[in-house]
Symmetry: D3
Subunit: 218 residues, 6 copies
């Protein structure tokens, strides 16, 4: 049997890991690679700054090295893709970042992608990521909902904020595919997709999909 | 059980369809969507010109409409992505083009992708596709091997030509991930990957992977 | 005497061909190449989808090949440039697409061009054409007037819609040159130009102009 | 009868003006606008530096203003497009620069244009012009032949240098359309085109063509 | 002791030169290069058109050549960077343009820069400068305040207009660093910076800073 | 007196800090801000991987916060700009990264910059930095010399390797300004500049120059 795909939540909030675990359940297929979710104990409750993002890289790489022999691929489950390129230097296994994976998947589902972010402070970070990926020509815009990682569990409020933001991306900024800009928003994907009438991409699901491909076709 | 992903080979060469069928075998997972491969009877033996590429769009769209009710997603298995946007207008199901899928997948496996093409005449078409996708900043180059679609079965010769081309992409043009620029090259992927020491992406496998994600996360 | 420039209207609406014929009248110069307009019998009444656009390519290329010996150049008179690159592979004669010709001509008349389109559904197609041409940096925006090809004859209504759209391109999106995004809008060019105070480019006129240059300087 | 298109050679070398006059002869059509060529007395013998280029702007604008009432359009016949935007501010008539016109015309004849320049020192100037026009994605390269403006009359030598440069553009840099990067190279266009098997664009011819369109469709 | 950095105000308005002289006072450091400001007698009262911009190039280059032996570097103190590349060909000394210097400095203080311009007519000129510099991806927008060079001394009015424009750049166009788009606005920098809560770059100060570096590290 | 500019060498090799200290000596001006160089005790001997780069961010930010009250600006003296954006979130003081500062300074000294890197492994990291900065259009290429940070003290060998690499940047890749792609190469700047006949930018000197400007014009 295949070694598992290891999905690492680099923040220490177990509820986020649980949400990720649930979100990727449809991608656990008999005969396909097992998928294990882990919480990075050393991470902060939520990765909301550049410093948070950098601070998890070292323990993340150590975790990856420590379980390389028992993993077929890795997914870094934070939209900022902390340590993505460091991890790729640290292991020969495929490493997928959920931000990058969401963007490239969105390219196959629409002309221009919009991002729904947690906080205003995420926007320059995301914009740099878009430029770093060379995807500026396909980027419609980024709308923050003003809720931090740990506040994402307040369902009604968050759903409404995502819908308002999604409509702005669609109607004012010209997005025709929407990315959830945080690993902790997966539960809102389907209802948001219906409300907007546009494909909505959960980044962890996008990354795990790509990881399955990489593992099945080594 | 899920409706099948329908992979359409828009050329009429059954041997290419058979190669595709074999190439995507590792992505047929119990519990995952079935994957059916079809040959477009109306297609030419190989799609080697812009006119070939356009001529298949109408029968392709008709095929897609005729089996929409019995398909969960479609993959257009020609590197030129003929009819990709027409098909997306023709059906609500996700439609993946293998050229586009290969490029976006390559973005997650290296900094700059190179393409191994069949014929020199493909190069302007591919370059337009790269620009149309907005991916110029990640494109290293395109090397033709000088063999048409129906000549791809000559194993030893083709393998050697791909390796020579791949080394040129890697050593002269700076590619660190290589795309097979034709649906009929899948059988060479693994050995080429070993020879180059770089990830090599088969476009149909890339598209089917993305289709699985889209089907499992509707 | 020179062989004629053949302008092909790839939709089957004779009224559109007649409008084109009238629009290019000022470019019929004594001593210059004759200009003949033809309707593609196999075309749909209007090219409004990607599938329409692809479906005309084969008969268009056949028409071009059949009259290559009696033509000095070809103009494909649909803003979507259907079969432009196929036609260039099919004949050694210069082939001008009206969409491409309008954009490049606009580059010489202003800093950033805006497009007035027929239908909202045209916008992603146009945006892909802008990217494919590598002209993103000069593109201000695209405003649809919500009228299909066959509705373009309702003069008062169309004129007003074009003016409203043109003002939006000028005042909100920063365009300083405007392109009529359909072959059937030529009659509105001059009055719109006066209303906006900006150069307005009819795409067929732009393409025929470039064709004259190519024919006179073979 | 139409007012003439005034083509201004901003250098003071009458032989260059004469060459321009001859080059645009095929564009003088009965019923079309007359085309007059003028030499800017105040210009240097050849525009070979940025300072030359700027120094002619004032007398050029004065010339344009002085004959605006008797001209239908202006062409600035130096590949550096000196004073192009100044002239556009100075007159309501269409003003075409030959460098800009050559580039946009080349976009309709190939995928990537190469430039044959006079001197190595022209290259940064041309590269800035490509970027300023936003056409980087279509630019293949620029090869200097090492001959100044006044040396362009040495036919055999110049022809050979252009051919060597053109082959380099075609075979090493991937150009499939070639621009003559100086107003004084027109006489070499046809033979070079045959030698290269690629379209070769003379910039003044390109600009006059666009001017005819602008004048006939005011 | 070091030769001076010569800052040339290419317009003939002494009050602008005086303002520049005052603005760069904090960069006159003991042990650092002296900084001399000169007014170009041949310049117009304000450089507000492309023709103005070109017309000063010749006297500017002459001035530069005449004092090259007594200068360590040159700064061209007009936001349009008139003669920047001509001057670089005319002297071996480093030449800084204040427009270019402001843009590159802004890249180190924020993600996307906005420009506060004098007149609406400046906008296409500035946009061309952004493209020419290849900085489109970092450009947020340009807001004119509707005041010419000689009107910049009306303090209260200008301050208010700059603040309104700056807020528009920040809140509507997404700029997080603001450039004063004229050499004559330096006196408003600090108060505007406080009002906006964003870094505000005076272009002459930016250029003189870079000149000091170039002079101290020859 | 002004608070000092604090230059942090994020690797722990004191010899590199000493070299930096010497390199920026010409920028210590009477009346200007003092400049203090510090070694980050927690850093690795050389930052040669993405993981190294991330691992220093946390101690770097802590250092910055701990001395914010006693610093006027910060310079992060590693070409990979580790923690640049994290540091900018951590302090209100200006923070300059030497990689970013070198690139923007190079934009004012030539058309296209080349980079001389230590190791081949740096190239993808640098390329991502170029894209992230949006400066792809000005980037000529990157040549590694194959020597790690701690090997940079072998003068003769390193000088020769830099010259060979610089000639390749100039003659094959078209660079007209060269950046030293490591904080530890400053001692080779002047001789390399003479050998190449092109401006050579030391990144730390570039960053300290910009810091002086930011400090003097708060």
């Amino acid at each position: 049997m295949s070694l598992p795909i290891v999905v690492v939540n680099p923040n220490s909030t177990q509820a986020v890991t649980d949400g990720i675990d649930e979100a990727i359940e449809p991608l656990r297929l008999e005969g396909g690679p097992p998928i294990e979710c882990r919480t990075l104990a050393e991470g902060p409750p939520g990765i909301e700054t550049e410093e948070h993002s950098s601070a998890v890289v070292k323990p993340l790489c150590e975790l990856i090295r420590s379980c390389e022999a028992n993993a077929s691929a890795f997914v870094i489950a934070c939209y900022s893709d902390p340590g993505l390129h460091a991890a790729r230097e640290a292991t020969k296994r495929p490493v997928l970042g959920i931000g990058e994976s969401a963007m490239v998947t969105a390219l196959t589902r629409g002309e221009r992608f919009g991002i729904l972010s947690i906080l205003e402070a995420s926007l320059p970070r995301h914009r740099r990521a878009v430029r770093r990926a060379g995807l500026e020509a396909r980027f419609a815009g980024d709308v923050p909902i003003g809720v931090g990682v740990t506040g994402l569990s307040e369902k009604d409020k968050v759903h409404e904020l995502l819908e308002v933001g999604g409509l702005r991306l669609r109607d004012e900024l010209g997005a025709d595919v929407v990315i959830l800009g945080c690993a902790g928003m997966a539960r809102y994907r389907k209802s948001l997709q219906e409300a907007l009438g546009l494909p909505v991409i959960d980044p962890t699901q996008a990354a795990v999909t790509l990881a399955i491909g990489a593992v099945r076709l080594p």
